[in-house]
Symmetry: C4
Subunit: 268 residues, 4 copies
């Protein structure tokens, strides 16, 4: 199983480390070319985003966040396969939009990185993506009841949050978005929305910056819980009008929130 | 958007700092006059109130708390636009009841400060106001089910908690109370009640002191959750009689609670 | 209001401190006689009980815990009016079963101490009492749905948990058990049960030791939440048989729990 | 009661400590033989498992986790009767599969250790067992609504989670699995499933390693809460297909989670 594969990968990685340099260069020629070192501020924010998502209960050991490379829109940055809370700058890998790493293919990688690459391909306005299993959101992914916006903090939800059914793309699977085809199918269903649910699994959230994608991931969870509670009261629920959602989003930023969230995870 | 405006404000603020003193004095003449330095104990309690509200889960990065100036009932004190948990004495600004700052107009301000100013205008008995998005309360703001008092800790709720619908005041908006007209409309709907809900948004809570407004904000949230749980049991719910609520409020203070809450946020 | 009264009490207390000794002795003659210093281990456990109840979310700033004096069954020990988390040995007061303090009548006292005294009067088997407003329990105090035992940790609930309605004892009040008559009415309704709910208010819980009363307070809250969740699933619920409850209680102690809980609040 | 028994045990234990060595050896001859010292890494992971289960809210002071001895499949390791959060290597005891300790019979032991021994007997594929009272799970143990898999993190639940009714095995009892007969009845009902619920009590969870059994215990709780929330939305719920569950389990490991969880409890 995976343990066996992990052993193989570890061995492969070790072997690679002791291979003569020219042999590695040769192999490197088949790989996508790096866009060069990313802005250190972007890496710092990517590490912060990882920790904030954990601190806020949006991810546990699973889930991941990526950001488009500041030097090349055809590259994105994401950690190797590690719990977000533990990610350090040394863990950040660079991928092309087919989700092929520009180096270190022997490291253990997120099997669902295709969620990120395929969304970046179809959505030039998106510069950051989160995939999570946040607990308030999953119930809406398996229910006939659609997730909607009940509070102004969820203005980005007012245009609707679609649900992607992996059975439509691949029948009965292990439910992971572990190849480009599933990633593309998900990205197409997302369309121009802010976020999408994965049936029985979680969500994929987009933003124009890391601040936006983290903020939206948090308020998607908040919004899901609010809707569930409002519905449980038993009376009709007064949802946001899509026009209200658009006006909120025109004005919305996460400057004040990001200052707090970053402080909470860095102590600075 | 807001980021752009923030840049503009920051620049304006910097420019202001290097303007000749007489030019600033001139501009100052159009501004409301300060009531002078507030009681340091009041500032200390205002900072504590900010942190308590965060520590108790009543505000996250958003939401704010104000207090009437101890030297002039026509002035109130509130932080510049910052997450309550991070507010320091240097952040406290002084406003007149039209919510115009007596100085430093270039600092980023809470766009919804009009909630505070307009309530202070109509309610001389109120000396402290909280605006929050506390999670148990929002569902009642979008439901046909009214929030009522189920427990004696919510005695102030027994006279009823109205809901303000911004659509009645301004149609389809970004849902923020970001001008004096919306603030006044909200304050009028509040009437002589302890608190009011904002549809799809949160609550505004009043008190005769910071201790009261913090205590009420906490127990409004507690009470909302208790009512939701009581209703979920399925049987009829036995609410407080308004007379019980009045008798509780006649006796109620928050001395014991404030001692604990302040200790929790100051370590003293 | 209370603030005024507190000032008066503080002054009275100060005056008392400077009165000539003989004057104080005279006043002391009207007071109940102390049973003498309590076992320091009992005081240590009483302080621990206060903190455990807070740490476990059973009390917030309000609520209290008492223990019968180890030297005299007609005396009990409880803090002056202070949030349980902040209680220190210097705060512990000694009362007779009419809830009159043996000394320091000028200190601010729990207005609902009669819950403790009146239960001790009627229940010689009870050596410790908790009064709390624990959040999972209150909904059952205002619902037509009775609180029952769904899990073996709530074996003491299997004989039923009655609800005391203060309106039956005193009509429309401030809902506080602030006199001996209300305390006796509550104690009579409790009968030989482990605990009782106070409508729209909270619970009173009994135990043969502090360990039992703390354990029961915690598992009353746990049990209430479990029942609410089980009912919410929609199907019939399979409650404990009273015979199961009795067999559990015959065997039950809180030794293992107390070791953990005490460690959590003392760090030792 | 238990206190009395504990005193007896303590005395017995003390007496044992001062008995001449040959007398103890004689007694030892009736006891099962030890498989020798276990792998220190296994003990380290067993301690970590205890703390992780507490840190994640799966156990409180009650509940326990065991692991099969690495040198002998007929021996298992588990703490003496202590809250999991407080367990140290010195507390680990070795048992045969009849749940008889190889030494130190005078120490206070988990009365429900038979859950572990009897499962190890019937399930050679199982190398680690958890018994817990996790709060989201208990409601399904008393409801007519079966616990199912709603999310891919609960793939191991897709084959169904049976409920064991102790009344079928022993009538009206104290509900504890405190003898080999109850343990065997439970293990038989478990069959080849990953986990089983105990009516009005909790769960028993199995895994091929400590990592699996801890991961499954956590996601059994997560899954129960997700199902309850999904059902509460009111519409039909789209559960995992058993085939999806099997494919997930074929691929599943807890490497990434274990790295985080262990770090959270050890600080390393």
């Amino acid at each position: 199983m995976d343990l066996a594969r992990w052993v193989v990968w570890s061995l492969a990685s070790t072997v690679l480390a002791v291979l003569p340099a020219h042999a590695q260069q040769e192999r490197q020629q088949d790989r996508p070319k790096s866009a060069g070192p990313a802005d250190p501020k972007l890496i710092e924010d990517l590490i912060a985003a990882n920790r904030i998502l954990f601190q806020q209960g949006i991810v546990d050991a699973m889930g991941h966040v990526s950001v488009r490379h500041n030097k090349d829109p055809n590259r994105y940055l994401i950690s190797l396969a590690r719990a977000p809370q533990l990610v350090t700058p040394a863990d950040i890998m660079e991928y092309d939009l087919d989700s092929v790493p520009v180096r270190d293919p022997g490291r253990r990688q997120y099997s669902e990185r295709y969620i990120h690459g395929e969304i970046y391909k179809l959505r030039p306005d998106v510069n950051a993506v989160v995939h999570n299993h946040s607990p308030g959101v999953i119930p809406f992914s398996v229910s006939s009841v659609p997730l909607r916006a009940v509070a102004h903090s969820g203005g980005f939800m007012a245009d609707g949050i679609p649900v992607w059914e992996i059975r439509d793309a691949g029948g009965l699977t292990d439910m992971l978005v572990s190849n480009p085809e599933f990633g593309r199918s998900l990205a197409e269903k997302l369309g121009d929305r802010a976020a999408i649910l994965l049936r029985g699994h979680g969500a994929a959230v987009t933003g124009k910056t890391l601040q936006y994608v983290v903020g939206r991931s948090i308020y998607l969870e908040v919004g899901a819980r609010l809707q569930a509670q409002a519905m449980a009261l038993g009376g009709p629920v007064n949802y946001l009008d899509p026009e209200e959602g658009r006006k909120i989003e025109d004005r919305r930023d996460y400057i004040r929130s990001w200052e707090l969230w970053k402080r909470q995870v860095t102590g600075k």
